[in-house]
């Protein structure tokens, strides 16, 4: 391992070469037929720790370095702030001013606040967003809450993707005064059946042994890869979920960006699978069909 040039990891393509027998499919080390779209990024500062890339400029430098074509960016401010309109305005401004065309803002909707509907309208009509992001475990509601159903209805009508953050940090390492357990997903299938046009994507979902086995059967439910783990992690994920509904997500900058890329490449996926994972599934989610 120590003979592997760490510098080679600065390129997402060469990350594969570094850890996969120093040999990777031609499509990876050469002209890749896909662009990497990261569906799970946050801007600004994590409340409990300074992260190595938690300024927008640093993060965009990283995107350039790792050849990430586009990242869907939410805001860490959305977890605890209650002026969510301001949170989303700052996010959009940061993406426009510093994003170098690589950041796509994803607004926060806080269903516990009065007039969340106003924030939703602003995300869609003023900011022209294609997706919004929810944090039920920080905003203190369950998925059988009628407001969640109403949001699904409105997002389905507006053609907005709903990104649902299942977790942001392992419960076992969280700050004692900021404990937020993973979102309970049991009510989700029924809610989505009631709103069949809604598209929902789970971020940072990590199935547990006793977890819900029926989630992959729910139409229009997508999942990202940020917390896929284990020797057979990706292979298992792609056996469990329809491959067309698994999308690359890094959870950077909280998680190490390179880790997400190495995990994807260590899985020995075919070029077609990598194309779907890194690019096509994400494009389809936003309505850029085939």
């Amino acid at each position: 391992l120590t003979s592997v040039s760490v510098a080679s990891l600065v390129s997402s393509g060469e990350a594969a070469a570094a850890v996969t027998e120093r040999k990777a499919p031609a499509a990876i080390v050469g002209q890749r037929p896909w662009k990497v779209i990261d569906t799970n990024l946050h801007l600004f500062q994590w409340p409990c720790r300074r992260l190595p890339e938690d300024t927008v400029e640093q993060l965009v430098d990283k995107l350039v370095k790792l050849d990430i074509f586009q990242a869907w960016a939410g805001s860490f401010e959305g977890l605890l702030h209650r002026d969510v309109t301001g949170v989303n305005d700052r996010l959009v401004e940061a993406c426009q001013r510093h994003g170098r065309g690589r950041l796509s803002p994803v607004g926060t909707i806080h269903l516990g606040l009065p007039d969340w509907e106003g924030d939703l309208r602003r995300c869609q009509q003023v900011h022209r967003m294609r997706a919004i992001r929810l944090y039920p475990n920080y905003h203190d509601y369950r998925l059988d809450d009628p407001r969640f159903g109403e949001l699904l209805q409105r997002c389905a009508q507006a053609g907005l993707l709903v990104q649902l953050c299942v977790s942001l940090e392992d419960l076992r390492t969280q700050h004692p005064r900021l404990q937020a357990a993973d979102v309970e997903l049991e009510p989700l299938p029924a809610m989505m059946r009631a709103h069949p046009q809604a598209k929902v994507m789970l971020l940072n979902y990590k199935p547990t042994a006793g977890g819900l086995k029926t989630l992959p059967e729910v139409p229009n439910l997508f999942v990202d890869t940020a917390r896929v783990e284990g020797t057979d992690g990706y292979a298992h994920w792609l056996r469990t979920w329809p491959p067309s509904r698994v999308v690359f997500g890094s959870h950077a900058p909280f998680f190490i960006y390179e880790s997400a890329l190495i995990k994807a490449y260590e899985a020995e996926l075919s070029d077609d699978e990598l194309l779907a994972l890194f690019q096509d599934n994400a494009l389809r989610l936003l309505g850029f069909a085939d």
Partner: protein, 255 residues
């Protein structure tokens, strides 16, 4: 175990992992009752992986200090007279003690006499679900403070690594191991700042974790190439030198 290693070997090759320490149950209350019974009935199950992959695997025994006399016997059998190179004090036990308990004293003293590695599972569980046998880095600091000449490895850096690093940073004889938690950014950077790279050992946590998660922590850290070399192999070679020499085992040469 053999089947699991066979499943994991391709990933180890991919990660260019030249040698790996495996933590083997030897029937001392660290596994399920069924597994424990089988291991006690047939010791070949314990020896087989090391005999099959002698140039790749280094064995360490998992022990529970609750069973002090049996643990001492196991140290004699498997380290003094057998193929193993150290002990792993396991976590997640149904019963046992944290490592500051007096039962640990004769065990670590004997392993140290033999030149073996002493690794302790640690976790600062913020949900308080660890149970009475859970050891934290603070427990390990208490134990290590009594033996400044013995090196201790703080496995998983306590999980909540910001607190874990702080708990042991004043004790030069305590090193940390890097695996077992999500690839949270900034970990290695802080560890090198507070401990120096010489007190950090890479762990893959295969097959439970991905290469990406564990290698990424070191490879992507903003530290020097030399520090990465030390963490990814140099430090373990240094630590293992005496016992490998005594056993006539070969340490892989540095690149």
């Amino acid at each position: 175990v053999v089947a699991e290693i066979e499943r994991t070997l391709p990933k180890m090759k991919k990660g260019a992992i030249e040698r790996a320490c495996i933590f083997q149950h030897v029937g001392l209350g660290t596994a399920s009752a069924e597994v424990e019974k089988r291991l006690r009935e047939d010791e070949r199950l314990i020896r087989e992986p090391l005999e099959r992959w002698p140039s790749w695997l280094l064995g360490m025994i998992q022990i529970n200090a609750l069973h002090r006399e049996r643990a001492l016997e196991a140290i004699e059998r498997w380290i003094a007279d057998g193929p193993m190179v150290g002990v792993y004090f396991a976590g997640g036990l149904r019963e046992g003690y944290p490592c500051s308990h007096p039962n640990f004293a004769p065990l670590v003293e004997r392993v140290a006499e033999l030149g073996g590695i002493i690794m302790q599972h640690t976790w600062f569980d913020t949900t308080n679900r660890g149970g009475p046998a859970q050891s934290t880095p603070s427990h390990l600091a208490t134990l290590a403070g009594r033996y400044p000449e013995i090196t201790f490895i703080c496995a998983h850096a306590g999980g909540e690594w910001e607190k874990g690093i702080r708990a042991i940073r004043g004790l030069p004889n305590v090193w940390i191991e890097t695996s077992g938690f999500d690839p949270t950014a900034g970990f290695i950077d802080m560890a090198v700042r507070d401990l120096s790279a010489q007190r950090i050992l890479f762990g893959s946590h295969l097959p439970g974790r991905s290469l990406g998660t564990e290698l990424g922590k070191v490879l992507a850290a903003a530290i020097s190439e030399e520090d990465k070399h030390q963490i990814l192999g140099g430090n373990l070679r240094r630590l293992l030198g005496p016992i490998l020499q005594r056993k006539g085992l070969i340490a892989t040469p540095p690149p």
